[in-house]
């Protein structure tokens, strides 16, 4: 691992939602600040900066990661996915996002990006989760608006829809 100078800014390069990006970061710059203010990907939000609220959750090399507890220089060369990369096209929503809209699974929407990222990664690993498993996953996120149930319903419905689509493509 290269030794970085605290006084200098360093170029950090990684893949964000399928595209190469680069920016300048001091060694202490948080990944959350770097994504938002250097790269301009403001969809990832910051709620507590101590790893509890989950709003800043992003996918780093397939691992759910709190961007507020990760340094920007740590993601050099990584593949990162954020909420901006979930929809299949600019004017469309993913299956999960559409389920959130149908179920009113968001109100202010501030915590939503992190929840979507967690569910996106989770549903890939567990395509047919129980409600308890979904609630357990969601316990890593704080939402103050919805009371959570609409989120649980949206997640379960999206999981079913994704399974159906998977089944169809498998039989196609």
């Amino acid at each position: 691992m290269p030794r970085l100078s605290a006084a200098a800014r360093h170029t950090v390069r990684f893949t964000l939602n399928g595209r190469p990006v680069a920016g300048q970061a001091a060694p202490r710059t948080l990944l959350s600040d770097f994504l938002r203010h250097e790269i301009g990907a403001t969809g990832t939000h910051v709620g507590c900066e101590h790893g509890v609220c989950g709003a800043c959750t992003v996918d780093v090399d397939g691992m759910l990661t709190r961007a507020c507890m990760t340094l920007a220089v740590q993601v050099e060369g990584a593949t990162i996915r954020t909420v901006e990369g979930l929809a299949p096209a600019p004017d469309r929503l993913s299956v999960l996002q559409a389920a959130f809209r149908r179920h009113h699974a968001l109100q202010c929407g501030f915590c939503t990006a992190g929840i979507l990222m967690s569910l996106d990664v989770f549903l890939k690993a567990e395509p047919d989760p129980s409600e308890d498993a979904v609630r357990d996953l969601l316990s890593g996120h704080l939402c103050r608006c919805t009371g959570y149930t609409p989120i649980v319903r949206a997640a379960l419905e999206a999981a079913a829809e994704l399974r159906d689509a998977q089944g169809e493509s498998a039989h196609a």
Binding site: R101, S139, G147
Partner: protein, 998 residues
């Protein structure tokens, strides 16, 4: 999909359509304050905050901070005071309220200095370089103790810390109490908590010196009466304070009203630095110093007939507003003033309201706003009446509810309950929630020896507050002098552009509720369009928009007032368009209808013109408008309900326009071992008038329920007795997660309000009022207790079941749990032993030698000997997530060379302060070495106590253990036996591995 019980044929209102807001929010396209770009050259603000709850500021040295490269300005309270005037205080008293401490700090987290720098990182670096000297004062955190003779005084202008003391009398309470068969009383404490939106405060401020004008973008939520407070503090007329809000807000629940002192700070910082200044609050700042709900101590007494009818209430409320009485406080106490009889028909009332200040964060708006405090007392009392009279609590509720034929009903203290059928809503709830089955479940559970209880609560949920209720804190004579204040002005503007498309603007400042969607439904219905045809803008700009003091997002006023104003504006436009169309269609105006994007003749729908064509006429050919028809380009409605009059000479006040009704009941089971509460079923039956969007109404109910559940079971802004703030992270201030919040059974009945244009009432706050009381009643029922204290965390409930945990048995190696000290800081005690391979005399000499101490004190940089028994040191310590630099002073006393010595010391740094003392005893071990034993007592306060609370004991043990281990090493071998966590863990691990203790 959502239930749509109100599928109103033909119209958009009442349907749970998908929200227009959501696509952007779901794809990362939100426009929250911190997502918006700033001008090049914008500076960033950071705030130094008080580590002490009560202390005089002796000096502030900002030299080093100002010298740090990248720092543009450093301001202290004196600098801010020099450019502003004090914020207004809500009562008549010679008291000032500054956004930054001047001369004295009064709560942990109070701003003491601010830095503006090129980025937030540098600004925070500079905070560490500011040197503040404090002289501690005793603090007071309990509102009742604050009124004691001799209690520490916060403000000279508030004798005995009482900011206001008013008594009220309605009806004939004396006779009612004299004639009552029973007199039943209850004392309750409502704790401090907050709805903690996930987005914190944020602002960007600019100053134009040529026009002496400020431009501030902030995630402020209103009420915009505060605009006048800010401009007054900044010493400019209102037209020189442009206050804007971003499109999206990450939640508020009242809390973002409390950003206004920071708007003053940001504005001053921009003025001094000559550059735009941005500030984003961090979570620790938010938890300790944004704003909190009031905590309240209430004694409520009822006069009750033999059959359970309540004939009079006697309220004694002591409201704790924290360190400063910031606008609009003491509004929390008076918001419910017309509703102190709740949902009950009680004609006689006495009230004593005292407002006190304590060394805690100032209070402000928070979802429920006074309702949770009132109903915890009132609904607990109703449960007590049932218990004491041997009645079913439900029966006591039924016997006292306002009768269905009594509406509109004027309460004893002046509220006009607009509409309702409480009995019908109650029965609907009982039926849908199947109370009979729940009672059977309780029966079964109890028969099996399990702890099960059922609670009820019936509440009136006020919405659309009367700006005049706050004036009830003043006497009629003071009110007369201050001038009239009443009403609830709502505004809405509808504009039509040259191609005939429709835009709506409101000053409702949504915080996630979906105002834009609902307004598009309301206006679409009037104009015969689709919601997707209507564009709604709810951003706020005080320089350009129609607004008034009641604008903003509070008191659940959107559906009732703002959506109603939008309907009225659409009606006005439609009336004029109908006349334009009538001329073109050649039919009478009465025959014109708006439908399907067309304006048509009702009698012959084929006779139609496109809406947009008629709508655009005012732009393209105003001369063609029929005689006497004003242009249809823009219409603004200002609506205020006439029912919201000012308080009268007898202090009767219609404190709110609308009154929804909620009846809740629940079954809970308590785990006998852990004290954990499991909600078996929660039923909440609402009547919020006409439902505009069922999905959003249920969303408000679920969200309010989750907040209330947190307030009842988990959340409390905890303070040590010295005012130390102990819950500075989301690991300490516990917010409910998906694991804790069950889905409530939601039941609706609809009694439209006769006072609002759409018949709607507020719905967002009701469960914050009903649910804490309902859960408390269930716990009272389950455990058969009368004194229920929130929050009902498992440890507190376990104590109710098993009694207080006894102290650890003598001789136990583990240190006892942290206990509050006499002064109330977090106090830690411990003891340990070390064996050192040097004689006591040699060890003694080492303990008195600065070089040795420098080598063995963990993290010490610079140990200096001041005298033979006094040392100073710079120490870097990490406790939990907080690593910081401290100045330490160590004193040796009770010297008994070479046998024993007492080491006492204190440390002070930007991250907190601490102190303690330890007795060290040296005994020869018979082999030329020394057996050293020690006991210590230490306390910690400030930021480190706020965020590291649960780690402190372990950290202290480790650090002290390190000290003696290093002493032993330095002396040439031996080992510390710290009795601490590590060795216990090792022992545990070894025994698990079957190897026995090491």
């Amino acid at each position: 999909m959502l239930d749509t019980p109100h599928d109103k044929a033909g119209g958009w209102v009442g349907r749970a359509i998908e929200r227009v807001e959501d696509a952007a929010l779901l794809t990362g396209g939100g426009r929250y304050l911190d997502d918006l770009g700033v001008k090049p050259g914008t500076l960033h603000m950071a705030i130094l905050r008080a580590p002490h709850a009560h202390a005089d500021i002796l000096s502030i040295d900002t030299t080093a901070a100002k010298a740090l490269p990248g720092v543009a300005a450093v301001l202290t309270g004196a600098d801010v005071a020099g450019l502003t005037t004090s914020l207004v205080v809500g009562v008549k008293a010679p008291v000032e309220c500054w956004p930054m401490a001047v001369d004295r700090v009064r709560f942990v987290g109070e701003p003491v200095a601010l830095v503006v720098a090129e980025d937030r990182y540098v600004a925070e670096d500079a905070l560490d370089l500011i040197d503040v000297a404090y002289e501690m004062r005793p603090a007071v955190v309990d509102p009742l103790a604050a009124m004691d003779e001799g209690a520490p005084l916060l403000h000279d202008g508030f004798p005995r810390n009482i900011a206001s003391d008013r008594s009220f009398r309605y009806g004939d309470p004396e006779t009612a109490f004299a004639e009552a068969a029973h007199r039943i009383a209850i004392s309750v404490r409502y704790p401090r908590n907050s709805c903690t939106p996930i987005e914190t405060y944020g602002l960007v401020a600019e100053y134009d010196p040529h026009e002496d004008a400020y431009d501030v973008l902030a995630n402020f939520q209103g009420p915009f009466s505060i605009h006048a407070v800010i401009s007054r503090a900044l010493k400019v007329p209102g037209n020189r304070l442009r206050l804007r809000t971003p499109r999206d807000s990450g939640g508020s629940f009242g809390i973002k009203q409390g950003i206004f002192p920071y708007i003053v700070l940001g504005a001053v910082a921009a003025r001094v630095s000559g550059r735009p200044v941005k500030w984003i609050e961090d979570r620790l700042e938010h938890l300790m110093a944004s704003v909190s709900a009031t905590n309240r101590a209430t004694t409520l007494t009822a006069a009750v007939t033999a059959d359970g009818r309540i004939t009079a209430l006697d309220w004694d409320q002591v409201e704790d507003c924290g360190a400063h009485l910031r606008a609009p406080e003491p509004a929390t106490l008076y918001r419910m003033h017309g509703n102190l009889t709740g949902a009950y028909d009680i004609r006689n009332l006495t009230v004593r309201n005292r407002v006190v200040v304590t060394n805690k964060c100032p209070t402000g708006l928070n979802r429920g706003f006074g309702g949770p405090q009132v109903y915890l007392a009132l609904e607990r009392l109703v449960q007590r009446i049932a218990v004491e009279l041997g009645l079913d609590p439900l029966e006591v509720i039924r016997r006292n509810l306002v009768p269905a034929d009594a509406f509109p009903y004027r309460t004893a203290s002046g509220a006009l309950l607009d509409s309702g059928d409480y009995q019908k809503t109650l029965e609907a709830g009982l039926q849908a929630g199947d109370l009979a089955e729940l009672l059977a479940r309780r029966e079964t559970a109890r028969a099996e020896g399990r702890i099960y209880g059922i609670g009820y609560a019936a509440v009136v949920e006020p919405s659309v507050s009367n700006m005049g209720y706050i004036a009830t804190v003043l006497t009629p004579a003071e009110r007369h002098k201050a001038g009239p204040k009443n009403g609830a002005q709502a505004t809405a503007t509808i504009a039509i552009d040259p191609v005939g498309s429709v835009t709506v603007h409101v000053a409702s400042v949504p915080q996630g509720q979906g105002h834009r969607t609902v307004l598009s439904q309301v206006v679409a219905d009037v104009l015969g369009l689709k919601p997707s045809d209507i564009r709604v803008n709810a951003e706020m700009d005080t320089a350009k928009d129609a607004w008034s003091i009641a604008s903003g997002n509070y008191a659940s006023r959107f559906a009732a007032a703002v959506a109603g104003a939008a309907k009225l504006a659409a009606d006005r436009i439609a009336t004029r368009l109908a006349r334009v169309a009538a001329a073109q269609l050649n039919v009478p105006t009465e025959d014109v209808m708006f439908s399907g994007g067309k304006i048509a003749a009702r009698s012959n729908p084929a006779n139609a013109v496109p809406f947009s064509r008629v709508a655009a006429l005012s732009h393209w050919s105003p001369a063609q408008l029929p005689e006497g028809v004003a242009p249809t380009i823009r219409e603004t409605v200002f609506w205020t309900p006439p029912e919201l009059t000012a308080a009268d000479e007898g202090d009767h006040i219609n404190s709110s326009l609308c009154h929804g009704f909620i009846f809740d009941f629940c079954g809970i089971e308590i785990d006998r071992d852990t004290g954990a509460i499991r909600i078996d079923r929660y039923v909440t039956a609402h009547d919020c008038g006409t439902i505009l969007h069922p999905g959003m109404v249920d969303g408000q109910i679920r969200g309010g329920f989750a907040h209330a559940l947190g307030a009842a079971l988990l959340e409390e802004y905890a303070y040590g007795a010295d005012g130390s703030f102990l819950t500075g992270t989301f690991a300490d201030y516990l917010v409910p997660t998906a694991m804790e919040v069950p889905e409530p059974v939601i039941v609706h009945t609809e009694t439209p309000s006769p006072f609002t244009p759409l018949g709607a009432k507020g719905v967002g706050e009701g469960n914050c009022m009903s649910t804490p009381a309902c859960l408390a009643n269930a716990v009272a029922d389950a455990l058969g207790i009368s004194d229920v204290r929130l929050p009902l965390a498992p440890s507190a409930v376990a104590e109710l079941i098993h009694g207080a945990e006894p102290p650890a048995p003598a001789g136990a190696r583990a240190a006892p749990a942290p206990a509050p000290s006499g002064k109330g800081e977090r106090l830690m005690r411990g003891e340990g032993k070390a064996r050192i391979a040097a004689a006591p005399e040699a060890v003694w000499a080492m303990l008195l030698d600065p070089d040795t101490l420098a080598a063995i004190i963990p993290g010490a940089h610079d140990v200096r000997k001041v005298s033979d028994t006094k040392f100073t040191a710079d120490v870097t310590l990490g406790i939990g997530p907080v690593k910081g630099r401290y100045k330490a002073q160590v004193t040796l006393s009770d010297l008994d060379p070479p046998k024993a010595v007492t080491l006492s010391g204190k440390v002070d740094g930007n991250l907190g302060f601490g102190g303690g003392s330890g007795r060290i005893t040296l005994n020869p071990d018979g082999a030329g070495g020394t057996e050293l034993s020690y006991t210590y007592e230490a306390f910690v306060g400030g930021k480190v106590a706020s965020v590291g609370g649960r780690l402190l004991d372990g950290a202290a043990k480790v650090i002290i253990g390190q000290f003696f281990a290093a002493l032993a090493r330095k002396a040439g071998g031996g080992a510390a036996e710290d009795g601490g966590l590590v060795s216990r863990l090792l022992a545990r691990l070894s025994s698990l591995l079957g190897r026995g203790a090491p």
